[in-house]
């Protein structure tokens, strides 16, 4: 039998490879990684950031549009400006930076007592290197869903790009990906790219959206489409790519309430470029390799209230955990993860929990129209920030917290949109009451209500 080797890489600790030791190793130098690293540094930890690009900043480097920082810096900034503020902060510290460095694997060794360290194997132009960390923060961000994942039929010519790749060509490489574009998906990147293309002289034939509502933030629909007269076609999707060598046209069709294309509604839209903004997927291949359990809803790690994954000492934050709406929210969340990782690494993990209660072990599940609930586990009786998104827009609904079938809390009636990452502070006393009831699960339910 011929050689048959798994593609999983050999990332055990090897004597020959140079090793450097840290308290906290942060994987990813985007907004999440930088915020986590800064928070860990402030807590007194020796911190390293591993970043595969030559520069810190992550995807913000190519997001040259404004709209960042309104919450975190109380000022409207572009993506690179927002990133640069944090990059400057990082550079003012002794946080070790491993740039142009790609992590190939995380080895958590044997889960033994407090001597356990995680080993991160990375490659760079300088060679192979291993970093050890008492704690690891996963901050690898997300990737874009592709044409294949949404199964658009037709031919496979050049000219089909994810919106982020087109954004890179335009904003980083100064290259024009085409002249006449159709955009599928009204997520924020799709909306931003509709405006960006228009400004760069690439005509945008229209934005097509499978759902009966726009997926991006309301302000982006207005600023990026309405202001430029770009049509948004709801309940419509691309059902065929046409063109053998380069895109020549796409076929679009209206869809029914089950999102299935309606025969007879096909329309051919001539174009040379198809941009896809059809969702983001947390990039967790490294996490899975390290033994981290994922939530099938978020496709990010299952974490507790400290953003610690099921593998002790491995934390996750930002878009690798769940896809955020705003970079500002990534920063805030990641600061929590960094502080918790430092506390873990420095051996005072108990202090991060207001009340360290070994008897507290609750899972959190979504219900109603809530698509997910995060954290998925609660292990301390303390004020806990819950994040969730709804699966469809509703004008009137309320958040309810349930345990053992009993309603513990009901929020006020308001509108919810899938484009917004919602946050809900779960009071310690609600957690305590759930425990008193003998519950093992807290349910976060978002339930539409009839208007009075």
């Amino acid at each position: 039998m011929a050689e048959f080797k798994s593609s999983a890489i050999d990332c055990g600790v090897v004597e020959a490879v140079a090793t450097q030791a840290f308290d906290v190793v942060v994987i990813g130098g985007g907004p999440a990684g930088m915020a986590a690293a800064m928070a860990a540094h402030k807590a007194g930890a020796r911190v390293a950031i591993v970043e595969r690009e030559q520069h810190l900043g992550g995807i913000l480097r190519q997001c040259i549009h404004p709209g960042f920082g309104l919450s975190h810096f109380k000022q409207e900034l572009t993506g690179p400006e927002y990133a640069q503020r944090i990059i400057d902060q990082v550079h003012a510290t002794d946080i070790a930076l491993f740039l142009n460095s790609m992590v190939l694997g995380i080895d958590s060794g044997e889960p033994t007592e407090d001597t356990a360290v995680h080993t991160v194997t990375l490659m760079s132009r300088d060679g192979m290197l291993q970093l050890t960390g008492r704690a690891i923060v996963l901050a690898m961000g997300c990737r874009e869903r592709t044409r294949s994942e949404i199964k658009i039929p037709g031919s496979r010519p050049a000219g089909v790009f994810t919106a982020g790749l087109a954004q890179r060509y335009i904003n980083i490489e100064n290259l024009k990906p085409g002249s006449r574009a159709v955009i599928l998906g009204s997520g924020d990147i799709g909306l931003i790219m509709a405006r960006r293309c228009t400004l760069e002289g690439i005509s945008v034939e229209g934005v097509y959206e499978l759902m009966p509502y726009a997926n991006g933030l309301r302000r982006n629909v207005k600023n990026c489409l309405d202001d430029f007269g770009i049509p948004l076609h709801l309940s419509t999707t691309v059902t065929r790519v046409i063109g053998h060598d380069r895109v020549e046209a796409v076929e679009v069709s209206q869809v029914d309430e089950h999102l299935a294309p309606i025969p007879g509604t096909e329309r051919i839209v001539p174009c040379d470029t198809l941009l896809l903004s059809v969702g983001l997927i947390p990039e967790n291949e490294l996490s899975v390799g390290a033994g981290v359990e994922l939530d099938p809803r978020t496709r990010g790690a299952v974490v507790d209230q400290n953003l610690q994954t099921g593998v002790p000492g491995i934390f996750a934050c930002g878009n690798v955990l769940h896809v955020h709406d705003l970079a500002d929210n990534v920063t805030t969340e990641s600061e929590r993860a960094g502080a918790a990782a430092a506390a873990y690494a420095l051996g005072d993990g108990a202090e991060t929990n207001a009340v360290a209660d070994t008897s507290c072990e609750l899972t959190v599940s979504p219900a109603g129209i809530a698509g997910y609930a995060l954290p998925g586990r609660i292990t301390a009786v303390a004020l806990t920030k819950l994040n969730f998104r709804v699966r469809r827009p509703v004008d009137t609904a309320r958040v309810r917290i349930l345990a053992n079938g009993e309603e513990m809390f009901a929020g006020k009636v308001r509108a919810f949109k899938p484009s917004v990452m919602e946050s809900f502070p779960l009071p310690a006393k609600v957690i305590q009451r759930a425990l008193d009831l003998g519950a093992s699960e807290i349910v976060l339910s978002v339930d539409p209500v009839e208007e009075a």
């Binding site: 593609s7 132009r125 592709t146 496979r156 790749l165 335009i170 060598d245």
Partner: protein, 484 residues
């Protein structure tokens, strides 16, 4: 400009490349003439990569004679040519008594065709061999000799070895006309192509879906190709690679098969529908049929993680459904390797062997060269290299430490090597087929602009001249603004 060779092979698919490699050991000048701009751009790249064992073909057919032999030869070919080959064995799953009877028939076929070690097994053994196989399967034909390859890697490796032994490769050279002089002449075939003209003494037709046209142009046998199109789906990598699982076949196809790949992905292959020649579109109905069919064999298959869906046409000769391998009865000196549909990948080494025999019998003089080298060393694969080798590579050139494709862990130096190989990659897809940059789950969202930059630098052209695949498949128009 006209060049003269002893042999011209039309078509650089897996068949043409395998024949070129087989004949390269002899003292002959050989040219492989390819219509597209790279190796294996037809049916050879659009199939499931299965090395079928050979129990399917009806005994007595040409397919039956070359399939099992090809499958047997793969071990040696993989060793010599440095491509990945996994001989995992396979199962044809049966779900009822009717299926069981069919499995027995397949087993008899297999025995007649020389397929080794076939047996019919029950549920316990099925589960032991492939724990993810459907528990509803009551019986299976267990066939230990089945395997799988990357079909384009096989074609590329074979042609690289042939070229290293002096074979010439002409790309972007669709044959537009063939003149045949009287049989007394030394180089009686004259092929006209836009890339130059080729004269040769012997002509081998391995033109895949174009084989009927080549035969017609040479005034040889008239036959017609049917474009039996198949859609194929590639799923993301799994912790454990699946053994190929087949349903009971239909009269025209092996049905929807689920298989692992040499890189740990899962492939679902293939639908079969007669469509317009040249149609390589995927169809929603086909893709759904694949996913549904696959779930019957492997119920827990994560069919949401589609990395790629693609389609191609099997080069089927209308009426025969068999391979056509032999010297033309009409035009002596023309050798046909036509109708190489499934199991063409599995049969390729044996088709090459048989072609050599046919030529020998036709009086072609084959003298072994003293300097023939059967070995093609596999190019360095950073992802699969042990840690110590990774270190050595980066020490030899820092570009081995420069990541380009993150999904498949392909560094810049590996891409450069793919471009500098002979014949090398000249397109983004050509790079992908040689070193997997862009093959992964993000489908080149991260690496495409990097690969374009590397290609432009290595080929000395502008990014706007870099192609995704063949002529016309430009990726960027050019600079947006500023100084060029």
């Amino acid at each position: 400009m006209t060049e003269t060779f002893d042999i011209a092979i039309v078509g650089a698919g897996i068949t043409g490349c395998a024949i070129a490699r087989q004949l390269a050991r002899y003292d002959l000048s050989i040219c492989v003439v390819e219509a597209a701009n790279d190796i294996a751009l037809g049916a050879s790249k659009a199939n499931g990569g299965l090395v079928h064992a050979g129990y399917d073909p009806t005994p007595g057919t040409v397919k039956a004679q070359v399939n099992a032999r090809g499958c047997e030869l793969y071990g040696a070919w993989a060793q010599e040519l440095g491509f990945l080959f996994c001989r995992t064995g396979s199962m044809v799953l049966g779900f009822n008594d009717e299926d069981r009877a069919h499995l027995e028939k397949l087993r008899q076929n297999g025995l007649a065709n020389g397929v080794p070690e076939l047996s019919i097994v029950g549920p316990d053994r099925i589960h032991e061999l492939e724990p993810r196989a459907s528990t509803k399967a009551t019986c299976a034909l267990w066939c230990p000799s089945t395997g799988f390859v990357d079909p384009f890697e096989v074609a590329i490796a074979a042609l690289e070895n042939a070229v290293a032994n002096g074979v010439m490769f002409m790309r972007s050279a669709p044959v537009e006309a063939i003149e045949v002089a009287s049989s007394g002449e030394d180089a009686r075939f004259a092929l006209a192509t836009p890339a130059g003209n080729v004269r040769c003494r012997y002509l081998i037709n391995a033109a895949g879906n174009g084989a009927a046209d080549i035969s017609h142009m040479a005034g040889a046998e008239e036959f017609h190709m049917v474009w039996r199109q198949g859609n194929i789906v590639v799923l993301d990598k799994e912790p454990r690679t699946l053994m190929p699982l087949y349903p009971v076949p239909t009269p025209i196809s092996k049905g929807v098969i689920v298989t692992g790949t040499v890189h740990g992905n899962t492939v679902i292959t293939a639908t079969a529908a007669v469509r317009e020649p040249g149609d390589t579109q995927t169809y929603a109905s086909d893709v759904n049929a694949l996913l549904n069919g696959a779930r019957k064999l492997v119920p827990d298959l994560e069919t949401r993680r589609v990395v790629r869906a693609f389609a191609g046409g099997r080069p089927v000769i209308r009426g025969t459904n068999d391979f056509f391998i032999g010297q033309s009865a009409v035009v002596p000196g023309l050798f046909q390797a036509a109708g190489i549909q499934s199991p063409g990948v599995a049969s390729a080494p044996a088709i090459a062997e048989r072609m050599e025999l046919v030529m020998r019998e036709a009086g072609v003089e084959l003298h072994e060269r003293a300097d023939w080298n059967p070995i093609r060393r596999a190019p360095d694969d950073f992802d699969r290299a042990p840690l110590a080798r990774k270190e050595e590579l980066i020490e030899s050139d820092p570009a081995w430490g420069q990541i380009a494709c993150r999904c498949e862990t392909v560094p810049e130096a590996e891409i450069v090597a793919a471009i500098r190989r002979r014949p090398g990659a000249i397109s983004v897809e050509g790079v992908k087929r040689r070193c997997r940059a862009g093959m992964g789950r993000c489908q080149s969202g991260f690496c495409q602009s990097r690969v374009v930059a590397i290609l432009a630098r290595e080929l000395g052209c502008d990014p706007s001249e870099v192609l995704l695949e063949d002529a016309g498949s430009w990726l960027v128009e050019g600079p947006l603004k500023g100084v060029r």
